[in-house]
Every structure is written in structure tokens, then in C-alpha cells.
Assembly symmetry: C2
Homo-oligomer: 143 residues x 2
Amino acid sequence: MTDRAAPKRDYEGELKRAGIRLTRPRKVIVGILQATDDHPDALEIFRRAAAIDPSISLSTVYRTMKVLEGLGAIHRHAFEGGPSRFEGAGGEHHDHLIDLDTGDVIEFQSDKIEDLQNEIARRLGYDVVHHRLELYGRKRRKA
Amino acid sequence: MTDRAAPKRDYEGELKRAGIRLTRPRKVIVGILQATDDHPDALEIFRRAAAIDPSISLSTVYRTMKVLEGLGAIHRHAFEGGPSRFEGAGGEHHDHLIDLDTGDVIEFQSDKIEDLQNEIARRLGYDVVHHRLELYGRKRRKA
DNA sequence: TTCAGTGCAAAGCGTTTGCATTGAA
DNA sequence: TTCAATGCAAACGCTTTGCACTGAA
């Protein structure tokens, strides 16, 4: 189990390589993704984008996230209740611990849990395609 | 790790004990919950209820699910994409394996994974309030 | 008798989409 | 020059809510 640092992604290169036009809105949006280590939702990305270029629309944010998701460049997370939140797909796989009081998202990774998941699925006659593991918790206070 | 059989719940008794009126729509709805072992969504519960009493409204289904959830009598699951699905809260805690091809939900339980989750959270300075573990997979074909 | 619970229709929220226009290639 | 991508507004799917009525206690 380890905490991780966020790696950077070459979103523009990935879009180009996929034959997808590098428009002004998309440049702004991927710039925002590169500049963040958190897990913003579409509206938050839209706000940050609008601060740079007020002509960008929320639809375009949604459409761009869909494109990037299709390329595997970002991951979409649907945490409890709220809207989808996005994060760059760089780095190793990890799961999330969500702070119930602040909404903060902490990433962690556990090979042991992954192994156990695969073992359980196998026993049930399945192959795991993907999974979702989210811990919802509160900061432990010193005794 | 074990597969489980679904236990039965005394929803009517729980509502009564909580001082909540046992109306006709609610009787129909909890009857449906008692009669099923699957994980129906609100619309599906509504359809089954309407077959028994066509005057029941979808709003009442939602409101009743909210009440039962508040009592801890049912659990609400938000699996990928789709609407919330409900299940009786009887029996031990378990997690879910969702068949990507059929939508079937298979329940499983792993103390080892639970322990690991708590250990990870503790290391990160958190107490786990609850968690969500979902495996999405496909039936393994015999080699 | 009373007020919690209901059905209905309308609104809410996050997200997607149809369409005429624009701008990257 | 062309057609993918855009902004806008309207629609979507799921869920909640305001309201006047109803029926469980």
C-alpha cells in the first residue's frame, strides 16, 4: 500500500495521434487537467476553463471529457452522490479513500487487495474486467 | 469468501416500531422486497407494485425506499451507469460482483479484504465509515 | 379527528444531444 | 475548402418536491 505522486500526461500529443483536432477549447481543458492533482468535476473544469476563455461551454467540457475517456487518457469516477469526477490516467492503478467531511480524495494502492479480488472472482467463475473500491472515512483523531 | 442465501426481513414490523404508518402502498412495496432475492431499481419495484395495485405512484416507491434506507432496512447501490438498485439489509455485510453481460449481481464476502481496507485507512490516518467494492466481470469460459 | 402519507405534475440535477455556425486541417 | 467541433438551448434519465387530497391511527 502506497501513497503516490501524480504523473504528467501529454494530452495534446494523444489527441493529435488519435487524429482528433486540437481546438482552442480542448487546449484550455487539457491544460487544466495537466495543472491539477485533484479530482475535479465537469463544472469545476468548466469554471477553470471559463476563467481562461469565457467562450468555452459546459457542453464542450463534457464532450472533451468523453473523448479523453475514450482514449484512456483520463478516468471518470462516480463517487457517492455527487457528479462524475475526473483524473489523469497516468501512473499505476489505484483506489480511493474519500474524506466524508471535506470531500478530499486520497489515492492508495494495494496489491494484496487486487490479488484477493481476482481470486474471489475466479472462484465465482468470473474474470474481473475492472473494479471499484472506495473507502469513505473520517480523519482519525489522536486519542 | 462465501456465497450467501438471502435472509428475510420483517419490514412491516420495523416500520411499525419506528412509528411509521403502514399504508397500503407501503404494504405492497415491502411485500415485493420480501419476495425478491435480486437487486431491483425503483422503476422495477414500481412495475411490480403497479401490477398488484395500479394506483401506486413512482414517487411513493422512491419515498418508501428512502424511509426504509433511513431505518437501515435496505441498502441502496449505485452500480455503474444505471439507477440505484435496492436490496434488503438482512444478513452479513457483503460486496458485489456485477456480470457485465447480463447485469446479474453476485454477492460475496471477504474478511481478508475488509481487514486490509481498515488497515490501509488506518495508515492514512482515517477510520472507515463505509465502503464500496464492486467487481465488474465476465463469466470465465472453460479453457 | 388529525396529520402523515399519497398521487400528480412540475422541478431538480447532472449530462447528453440537435442544430446552425465556426474554425482547424 | 471541408467536415469535425463548437455554443446554445432543449431534452434526457433519474430522482425529489410542492401541493391539495386521503386514509391510517
